[in-house]
Amino acid sequence: MSERKLRLVGVGALVLLALLVPFLFGPYRVGQFTLVLAYAVAVLGLNLLVGYNGQISLGHGAFFALGAYTSALLIEKADLHYLLTLPIAGIVAFAVGFLFGVPALRLRGLYLALVTLGLAIALPQLIKRFDGLTEGTQGLTVEQPTSPSWLPFADDQFLYLLTLLVAAVMFVAAWSLMRSQVGRAVKAVRDGEIPASTLGINLASTKTRVFALSAGYAGVAGALYVFAIGFVAPEAFTVTVSLAFLAAIVVGGLATIVGAIFGALFIEFVPVYASDVNDALTGVIYGGVLILFMYLLPDGAVGLLRRIGRLVARRPAAPAEEAEKRPAVAPPEPGVPAGKA
């Protein structure tokens, strides 16, 4: 079997599994998997920024929180239908990401990391400060979506499938975007800013837009999170969330689409089991995994799968393809002039 076919089979199996989940597990598990999908959208968004565009954000928890609060407030205080809050949460996060990005993205990688880390650290305080709107520390309870009577699903199954549908749309959108001319420009900026700019790519606008897009993904994910949890409070959005998202993209694999799923599984289930042993174990694992993956598996779980796939396909690695997939060693991609037909 060729590698391409293997990959198709793999993705097909993943989709099938995802569709079967609500019918295989009890409501509690299904709820966990719903959260996995919500996280996966945020992780994918962050990966567009970090993996594909080479910018470092340590504050995506903030956009996640922004989406969550937007959705929660619209449902509870403005009586909006929950489905409508989904795109609004995405647009609000996109807009704020854009405004934040305009000044921030004139900054080189490290400074962006600093500013976004600061944002993540300041966030819970900010939410508490606007307690007239956000109910402060107390948090907001939000009515969760229920299954319409004409569908044969229980509420938890409905919620899962709804989240799956949204996540699928977001994944396909990201996948096709990264394959398009825009995606090539995004990667070219990562691989070499100066060469990319000589090819006519507008660095600042590309980076700002990717940042906004990735914030938008986090916003949608935040809304999905609210549907799944039915509650928002400042303590849920500490800097830990942002760092967990980063750990997730490293675990899944930088600059991969499917990796977000593995990463999201990791950050949902590791804390669940680790906290049984010790409250601190989750952090120890996250930290250890970040370092170990950089040592041993810099292209993450997806990279590992690809290598296994290649062994199965019994074919030496095709150098051209290899270079495209791995940001760490990829030479600047030649011939990506913007506007070339």
Partner: protein, 293 residues
């Protein structure tokens, strides 16, 4: 007016602590081009060790000294064992590795010492004195004195000793220094060791003012980043002055701007970082980065 002066003096003292941590960041950035996100957590860990020794009956001064030595060794080991392999690699990889260290140390400290808060005694006691109608604490004066002493020692080390010269050479041009016999790797280790000592110092100085827990340095790190960005990431003197500016601004804003208050003080360094990077990306005393195509 007295209150204003008090707030400013307090700001300078806090700023000196930020400056100490910023100096640690600058030391590492200058030698290895890495912004060490784990610097704050390394300092927190050191402070817990000092607390553990003190709680175990060791006199405070000796406990702090022992901690500084241990931190120095830990800094050497972290550079050699962990960072060396990634040096000169991609920025993203280094950020991820130091962040991994950040999370790891934070959680390990929680594992070992728990997540509760405890009080940490001041090295300078809690006495105050009055000068021209303004009440000042010995602690504030002590902190500023310690920082000035550290800056003086660092200046002597870098400008007047052979090791300092070698460290500067290794930072400036590793290849050529290697060719003339500078042990570049050792110099980088030394840089990390010194940075760890500075961080530990910042930790034991700030702990009495905050309360010792695993998140002791979280916000201090942001202030230190702001100080380093303001002063210029490659300028030690910039880090110190940046620290003072940040400390004073933060205190003034927290006291006199109602909206900010005590809760939102953390926004001050963020805004400062933003403005500095937009107006003068190299910082006040830094050198502009020039890229060769």
């Amino acid at each position: 007016m007295e209150r204003f002066i008090q707030v400013v003096v307090d700001g300078v003292a806090t700023g000196s602590i930020y400056g100490a941590l910023a100096l640690a960041l600058v030391l590492i950035f200058r030698s290895t081009g890495i912004v060490n996100f784990a610097q704050g957590e390394m300092a927190m860990f050191s402070t817990f060790i000092a607390w553990g020794l003190y709680a175990g009956g060791v006199p405070l001064g000796l406990a702090v000294l022992t901690t500084l030595v241990l931190s120095f060794i830990a800094g050497l080991l972290i550079e050699r064992g962990l960072i060396r392999r990634f040096e000169g690699g991609q920025e993203l990889t280094l950020v991820i590795v130091t962040l991994g260290l950040f999370i790891l140390l934070n959680s390990l400290a929680g594992w070992i010492w728990g997540f509760g808060t405890r009080s940490f005694p001041s090295l300078f006691g809690d006495g105050t004195f009055t000068l021209g109608g303004v009440r000042l604490s010995w602690e504030s004066i002590g902190i500023v004195a310690v920082l000035l002493a550290v800056v003086g020692l660092l200046f002597l080390l870098f400008q007047r000793t052979k090791i300092g010269l070698a460290m500067r050479a290794a930072a400036l041009n590793p290849e050529s220094s290697g060719l003339v016999g500078v042990r570049v790797g050792r110099m980088l280790m030394l840089g990390w060791g010194l940075a760890a000592v500075l961080g530990a110092l910042a930790g034991v100085l700030v702990a009495p003012r905050l309360f010792l827990d695993v998140n002791l340095m979280g916000s201090v790190l942001i202030y230190a980043f702001a100080a380093a960005a303001l002063g210029g990431f490659d300028s030690p003197i910039g880090a110190v002055i940046g620290g003072w500016v940040i400390g004073v601004t933060e205190n003034l804003a927290g006291t006199y701007v109602d909206f900010i208050g005590a809760d939102l003080k953390i926004l001050v360094p963020l805004v400062i970082i933003f403005v500095v990077l937009l107006v003068r990306p190299a910082g006040l005393f830094g050198t502009r980065e020039v890229a060769r195509v």
